[in-house]
């Protein structure tokens, strides 16, 4: 039972990282119907920016907590700026293009950003400082869940609640929902669609950056390629939950994280990913629009 709990909590932690990235995928998809392959790179750029900021601040000599907060904020700002710029350059001119063109543009952008960081920084793995130190009071429970993992879980939960409130009650949230439902209709009733799309990219990228900072300080290393695998997994999670649906992305991420954790724990880590993808195929066979996806009846 103890082993089960450990695996369960480990899976939840991993799932919550996926969730932070998956939210960006699902929001962008919901609004412009694009699989943003370059989204994983926002996570990577966020982590790199945080590392750079943290190193500079450490040399200046701030205390740990200030560094963590500042690094996370700067990372989120920069990641958003990248998300915003990428949208303007690579996707906006393609609004009316054939459906696959933005996808290829996104793959190109992903390759570009990876190599940009590789060339400007390094191809080696870099150690990432542990910005979330272990706390004394948590020691008795750290057997189940380390303090960093607890922080990851809590942060993700708080961010998700805030995001839900934002989408539900604020003006921009309402415009986002309107745009997602029917872009031309939203435009007619006075929603500035371009702005809504920009905001979506900004929020999505900022969330990914937070995920990047959290996981990097949890596992302690980064390189230019980390965004790719995390991105693919998060995308899988988003589809599993029903792409375009925000609660779906969260649910899908937790299911994916837990599946991977239990597959490793009870079967073998050799086939961890096989289980993850097989689960995806199974769920989609029975629910072709994902768990919480809107199954739309197509109008003829």
């Amino acid at each position: 039972m103890e082993y089960f709990t450990e695996l369960f909590l480990g899976g939840l932690t991993r799932g919550s990282i996926y969730a932070l990235i998956a939210l960006g995928y699902t929001m962008v998809y919901g609004i412009i119907g694009l699989i943003n392959f370059a989204h994983g790179e926002n996570y990577m750029i966020g982590a790199f920016t945080a590392l750079i900021v943290a190193s500079v601040l450490t040399v200046i000599g701030l205390n740990e907590f200030a560094i963590l907060v500042l690094a996370a904020i700067v990372a989120a700002v920069y990641s958003s700026a990248y998300g915003y710029t990428v949208e303007k350059i690579a996707y906006k001119p393609l609004r009316h293009a054939p459906r696959l063109s933005p996808l290829i543009s996104a793959i190109g952008m992903s390759i570009f950003l990876q190599n940009y960081v590789l060339l400007a920084q390094t191809s080696d793995f870099l150690p990432f400082p542990n910005l979330i130190p272990d706390m004394e009071f948590w020691e008795p429970y750290s057997h189940y869940l380390r303090f960093t993992e607890l922080v990851i879980l809590l942060t993700t939960t708080i961010i998700m609640v805030m995001l839900t409130l934002l989408i539900k009650y604020t003006k921009i949230g309402k415009s986002m929902r309107a745009t997602a439902q029917d872009r031309s209709m939203a435009m007619l009733v006075g929603v500035n669609v371009d702005r809504v799309i920009s905001v979506t990219f900004i929020i999505g990228s900022a969330l990914a950056a937070v995920g990047g900072v959290l996981i990097a300080s949890h596992i302690g290393q980064i390189n230019f390629f980390i965004g790719f695998i995390a991105g693919i997994k998060a995308f899988t999670a988003a589809v599993l939950g029903g792409v375009g649906s925000i609660p779906g992305a969260v649910l899908g991420s937790f299911i994916l994280g837990l599946t991977e954790s239990f597959a490793t724990g009870y079967v073998s880590s050799d086939y961890e990913d096989v289980f993850a993808f097989a689960l995806l195929v199974l769920i989609l066979i029975f629910r072709p629009a994902g768990l919480l996806g809107r199954s739309t009846t197509q109008k003829v």
């Binding site: 920069y78 690579a90 063109s101 190109g108 570009f112 060339l119 400007a120 920084q121 989609l284 003829v300």
Partner: protein, 404 residues
């Protein structure tokens, strides 16, 4: 006045990029030695570079917009340079002759290395054309195409290793097994639409690769299969140079054959059914087209080509391991199809040649080559989203007679 606002715009863009690239371009940290290197000169380059590039960008954008609204793009494309060459016999015939001459004498004029990379490029032409059936014609987004390629390669690798079967024997077997896998994948995804299909095919591709990686008893795992026999010519073993030339002509033959088949398929009943499915699957079903069968044939036929090329790949490199069949490979083939212009045969061929040969010739810039490659993909899509050669939609228009 106009000029001034332009400069102001570019200036703002340049400021924005200086801000954007500041942490990553300017600061380089070495966390292990606690060293921070400030590279201010990079900021200057970025600032100046983006200032001028933004003029170019806006100029190109305006040109693109003047070129017509994208909704009319298809019509506009009729007057395109490439289309003109294609349709006008005065240009197409000399071009064809020149093409045949180049192709025939290529391996004799060029050295072995050039021929070798040309074979690789030709393989991607066929892969692109194969995937074009699934994505371009039938409109099914397949991100796991590489799985069938792997199936073909491993069919030859394993049969050659265990039973010493020759290239020509395995070629049809590989194609058949890949077709079979195409149908297997086809069944569960029949109900899925668009991007759901994409992620499931991606998952399928990964599953195949992971099985090859983990199931040592079957596939020899990540260490792969080495010393696979090169194709033989009626039992004669050839020297390396000869066998590369032989493979080259084999590939030319295959490319011609593929183009012929795909061309015929396009105009056939099933080809039209695919296009109908791509345009509107509900309407397509309403017209009495068997959706299940149409989708399955698309997957199966697409997979067949991948299987054939897989066998050739194994024979060419003489060594295979699962690392050659990653998702990036699928993305590459997809990029060929989309860059070429979905559904367009000539476009796909050109795109394959460009995308495969470009990195080879960019070896001189080896560090920057992937950066340039990614940038080209984005720029290409932004300025020519319909691909190098847009496929002209079959349109039937009523033309009023001018004389009447």
């Amino acid at each position: 006045m106009m000029k001034f606002s332009e400069i102001k715009k570019s200036f703002l863009v340049s400021l924005w990029f200086m801000f954007l690239t500041f942490p990553i371009m300017v600061i380089r940290v070495n966390t292990t030695e606690r060293l921070i290197v400030w590279r201010w000169e990079n900021m200057l380059y970025i600032g100046i570079g983006s200032f001028f590039l933004s003029f170019l960008w806006r100029y190109l954008m305006r040109r693109k917009e003047r070129g017509g609204k994208p909704s009319e793009a298809y019509e506009y494309e009729g007057h395109d340079f490439f289309q003109k060459i294609k349709s006008d016999r005065r240009y197409s015939i000399p071009l064809l002759i020149a093409g045949v001459l180049i192709v025939t004498f290529f391996p004799f004029v060029m050295d072995t290395y050039q021929t070798n990379i040309m074979i690789t490029a030709l393989m991607y032409v066929v892969l692109g054309l194969g995937l074009n059936i699934v994505v371009g014609l039938a409109g099914l987004l397949d991100l796991g195409y590489v799985a069938f390629y792997a199936v073909g390669a491993y069919t030859y690798g394993l049969l050659n290793y265990h039973f010493d079967l020759g290239f020509w024997t395995v070629l049809p077997i590989g194609a058949l097994i890949a077709t079979f896998f195409g149908i297997i994948l086809g069944f569960p995804v029949l109900r899925l639409r668009g991007d759901y299909l994409a992620i499931v095919t991606l998952g399928f591709g990964e599953i195949i690769r992971l099985i090859l990686e983990n199931w040592n008893e079957f596939s020899m795992g990540p260490s792969g299969i080495a010393q696979i026999a090169r194709p033989s010519f009626f039992g004669i073993q050839m020297s390396l140079t000869d066998s590369i030339i032989y493979l080259y002509f084999l590939m030319i033959g295959l490319v011609v054959f593929t183009i012929f088949v795909v061309n015929r398929l396009q105009d056939s009943r099933i080809g039209r059914a695919w296009i109908a499915l791509r345009e509107d699957d509900v309407a397509c079903q309403a017209m009495g087209i068997d959706k299940t069968r149409t989708k399955l044939t698309a997957f199966a036929l697409g997979a067949t080509w991948a299987g054939i090329i897989g066998v050739i790949f194994a024979a060419k490199t003489t060594f295979i391991n699962p690392a050659s069949f990653t998702f990036l490979e699928s993305a590459m083939i997809l990029a060929i199809v989309v860059l070429g212009g979905m559904g367009s045969i000539v476009g796909v061929a050109i795109a394959a040649l460009v995308l495969i040969l470009l990195p080879e010739y960019l070896r001189a810039f080896s560090e920057y080559r992937m950066l340039i490659f990614g940038a080209i993909m984005v720029i290409m899509m932004v300025f020519r989203p319909q691909g190098i050669i847009a496929n002209i939609r079959r349109t039937y228009k009523f033309k009023p007679d001018d004389n009447a």
